[in-house]
Symmetry: C2
Subunit: 348 residues, 2 copies
Amino acid sequence: MTNGKEDKEITIYDIAKRLKISPATVSRALQDHPRISAKTKKKIFELADEVGYRRNHFAGNLRSQKTQTIGVIVPRLNSHFMSSVIAGIELMANEHGYSLLISQSSESARKEADSAEAMFNSRVDGLMVSLAYDTNTLDHFDKFFRKKTPVIFFDRVKPHRSATSILIDNYQAAYDATKHLIEQHCKKIVHITAPPMQNVYKDRLAGYRSALEDAKIKFREENVIVTNLTQEAGYESAEKILKMKPLPDGIFVANDSCAIGCMIALKEKGIRIPEQIAFVGFNNDPMSTVIEPKLTTIAYSGFEMGEVAGRLLVNHLNSTSQINNTTTIILRSDLIVRQSSLKSPAGH
Amino acid sequence: MTNGKEDKEITIYDIAKRLKISPATVSRALQDHPRISAKTKKKIFELADEVGYRRNHFAGNLRSQKTQTIGVIVPRLNSHFMSSVIAGIELMANEHGYSLLISQSSESARKEADSAEAMFNSRVDGLMVSLAYDTNTLDHFDKFFRKKTPVIFFDRVKPHRSATSILIDNYQAAYDATKHLIEQHCKKIVHITAPPMQNVYKDRLAGYRSALEDAKIKFREENVIVTNLTQEAGYESAEKILKMKPLPDGIFVANDSCAIGCMIALKEKGIRIPEQIAFVGFNNDPMSTVIEPKLTTIAYSGFEMGEVAGRLLVNHLNSTSQINNTTTIILRSDLIVRQSSLKSPAGH
C-alpha cells in the first residue's frame, strides 16, 4: 500500500484509479460479469488482494454466494454446556471448511436482535441460535428467513415454519428427576428454575408438576423458586429455603451451578445432604462431580447437540441433504444418580 | 421480494434492473458518490433495504467506514476466565453501540489464522486476541496492521509494534504462589503447567523457578509436568505424582481446573490435602470454592481485563484517545489463601 490511506476502506474507485480503468469495469469484474475479460479480471483481483479489498467482494465468493462462515448466537458463554455445544458445531463446521462467528445475547432479546443484525451483515451462510430468556418473537430473524439463509434453533427454541429445532425432551427429563426424588421418599420437593418463558424451563416445570401429581403430591406454587440460575442465585435460594416450614426434603434445580451454590450455602448452615434434603440438578456440569456429595443430575451431551446441529446445517449448505422438511430433532438425556439424592442406601 | 431468487445474494445489477437505471449509478449511489442526486440515492437505498442488500454496502457505513462490530478471538470458550473477559469487553462495547463477534482458535495457530480471516472479511472495526498455545508468529494479523485496524492482545500476548498488550505479571504471581508454599514448609514443589510457548506459562515457570532458587531449593526439570491443563490432565498428572519418590509436599498448578482434577484423583488414593500435599492453583475459578478443601489460588479479574481492553479499543475507535503509544498494560493479581495450602494452622 502506498497511497497513505491505509485506514480507509478500499473502494472500487481506488482500484479503478490505480489501474486507469472505469469503476464500472472494476465493479463488474469483481462481480464476475461475463463481459469483462479474464485478463482484466486477473489484474483487478490481484490488485484487490494486494490492497486488502475485502474477500467477500470477490467473484469467487459472489459466484458461490458464500462466505464459509456460520453464525452462532447463544444466551451466555459461561457454561460448560454452551462451550460443549460450540465445540460440537465447530468440529462439523471445520471439517467442511466453515469458520464460526459467535455472539452472546446475555439473555436479552434486544441484544439478540443486535447480534442477529451483526451476523446478517457478516453474511453468514447459516445461523444457529439458542434463545435468550426474554425472547418472545422471532421477528429479528426475518431477514434470514426471507433470504433463505438456514436457521437452526437449539436447546432454547421456538417453533417457526422456516427453522429447525434441536432439543431434548425437557418435560420427560424433569419428570424423571422428580420421580427419582419421590422414590427416595421425598414428600416436599422444591423446584428452582428460571422464568418459564423459554421452552426448557416451561417444560421442566411441567414435568416436575406431572411427576408430583402422578404421585398424588399436591403441586404448590410457593415451592417453585424463580431465579436466574447462577451459582449466586443458588446461595440466595438457600436463604429462602431455610425459612420454609417445614424444610423441603428434596430439591430439583434446573441447572447444576445453581444447585451447587444452594448446596454449599445449606451445608454451611449445617444441613445434611442428602439425609435432610436430597438434590437433583440438570446438565451434568463437570462441577457436579467436584461438589461433595456428588450431584445427581440430568446428563445430555452439549457436544452431541452441537454436532447434530452442525452436521445438519453443513449438509444443507453443501446440498447433501435439505433441512426444509425437518422441523424438530429430539436428543437423548439421562438421569445420572449420585450421592446427593440417595436417601435410601439401596438407591430406591 | 417477488423475483423468486430469494436465496441468491442481491447484487447492484438486480437493483439497477428493478429501477431501470445503470448498475454504475447504483454502485456510485451505494458508495455515496457526490455525483448521484439525493433523490436517486434515496430510491436506491429504499429498494436495497427492501430486497435485503447487505447493510455494510450502505453509504452511511461506507462514509464512516465502520461496521460497529469488534472481533474477539480466544483460545477456548470453556473457562470462567474467558467468559468473564468477554463479559467485560461486551459491557464496554455495548455501551458504545458495538456488537461483538467471537471466535475460538481451539488452541491451534492454524485455526486462529482462519478466525482472523473470517473477522477481516466481516470488517470488524477492531480486534482483540488471546493467542493459541502454538502461535509463534503474528503474520496472520498483518492484514489488520496494514489497514490500521486496531489489534489488542490480552492475557496470552506477543509483542508487536502495531499492537497493545494487556496482561498480569505472571512471573510475580507465580513467584508469590511458590513462595507461599515454601513458607508452608514445602520442600519438594511440583509445577503443573502448559507448554511454555506462550508468555503466561513461560513467565509462571520462571517465577516458580526464581522463588525456589531464592529459597535455596534446587530447580529440577523432573518436577515440572507439562500438560494441556484440563481437569482430565489433572487426573493423569496425579498418577505421575503418585509414582514420585518421595512424594512432593506442595504442587503449584497453572490453572484451577487442572489443580482440581489432580486433587480429586489424589484424594481418591487417600492422600490428605494439605497435610501431605499442599495445593495452589491459578485463576480463582468458581470451582476453586466448590472443591474440598477450598483451593488457594491467584485471583485476577477477567472481567476487569475485558473492561480495560474494551474501553481502550472503543475510545480509540471513537477517537477519544489513541492507543498507538500504549504498548503494554499490566493488571493486578492477588494470592488468595484458602485451606488447600495451609499446612501450618497460623497460615505461616
